[in-house]
Symmetry: C2
Subunit: 198 residues, 2 copies
């Protein structure tokens, strides 16, 4: 005894999503079974249109609606600063702060020895080309403060150095709402090391 074919089929599809196992997938499908057919059709349409209606911005390499994307096409943005991020979602996170007015460069990942992601798989060549055009004053490395992010930042710093461009990275320290008592040693050590004068 198995699920009806059409249910099992959709369960299999949902199971391919990250962190979704067969049980969670089942839960999703049985939730959807309770929805009206119209809702399902709209969901299916959104899914089938996902790739058709998105493109890659050939300047920053972000997933976007248009090429060039909204940000790269915006004349009000400061074109002499580039913020290097691993992926489009990191870019969106920085955009949501509304505190950055420069451009972006999407690496498409970070160097990860375990997963076999080497430098040549990332959009580093395109970054170097931008650097060579000689209009860039600052490169902000906005990578995650973890092993892979640090490795990638180090690699990029070495690469950028000969071009004499100011290279910065996001501040490390305590996040808002943190509790000193529960902060891990590295975070606390960074908070001390990079302490600010009042």
């Amino acid at each position: 005894m198995k699920f009806p074919q059409s249910i099992q089929n959709l369960i299999n599809h949902f199971s391919t999503l990250p962190t979704v196992g067969p049980k969670t997938s089942e839960r999703y499908v049985f939730y959807l079974l309770k929805q009206d057919p119209e809702t399902l059709q709209k969901f299916a349409l959104a899914l089938s249109e996902l790739k058709e209606k998105t493109t890659i911005c050939q300047n920053c390499l972000a997933i976007a609606e248009f090429n060039p994307c909204q940000i790269c096409a915006d004349h009000k943005r400061n074109k002499s600063t580039i913020c290097v991020v691993a992926g489009s979602r990191d870019m969106m996170a920085i955009e949501s702060t509304k505190k950055y007015n420069g451009l972006y460069h999407i690496l498409g990942g970070v160097i990860n020895a375990i997963e076999g992601i080497k430098e040549d798989k990332l959009n580093i060549k395109q970054l170097v080309e931008k650097i060579k055009k000689n209009q860039i004053k600052e490169i902000i490395l906005a990578l995650n403060p973890d092993m892979e992010g640090e490795t990638t930042a180090m690699y990029l710093t070495k690469l950028i150095k000969p071009h004499n461009i100011k290279t910065t990275r996001l501040a490390k320290g305590l996040p808002m709402g943190a509790n000193l008592e529960y902060a891990d040693e590295i975070t606390l050590a960074n908070a001390l090391k990079y302490r600010n004068e009042l």
Copy 2:
């Protein structure tokens, strides 16, 4: 700055799923963006066909491919025993044990005062009709051992009693692999109360 419309659209759809918030939904969508268009089309098709290719078995009220469903149509199954479950997934869970050979009756939920689910919203009338046909020897109440399940079981027991049908419920006790040390008091109390002679 927002996500491209087609991405935001799909994020909204995934966010409607149980336990899926906007961040998880984003993760799903960006995972899907990396897949080839063909995979997405198949996923979309599975979604749009979900309701078209499923029906409700008019005997047990389970979601099924055919009406009557595979189980109700099976002549080898014991038609004098009915296992009452809250939903189709509970039925599937019992089926997967391969230890039950009777029929099922899907309640379509349990009595839940907080969520406003009363007896009249459940498939109780249909159960009473089956009982009145006088061919049933045992009704197994396979409901979750929680507040709502117990309330529903109590309600059904009262309803079935006048018909003089044997009514049973699933055993309560320690689950396989449990650790006495970490078992909650109610589970342990039940394990003691319903202890078996060796």
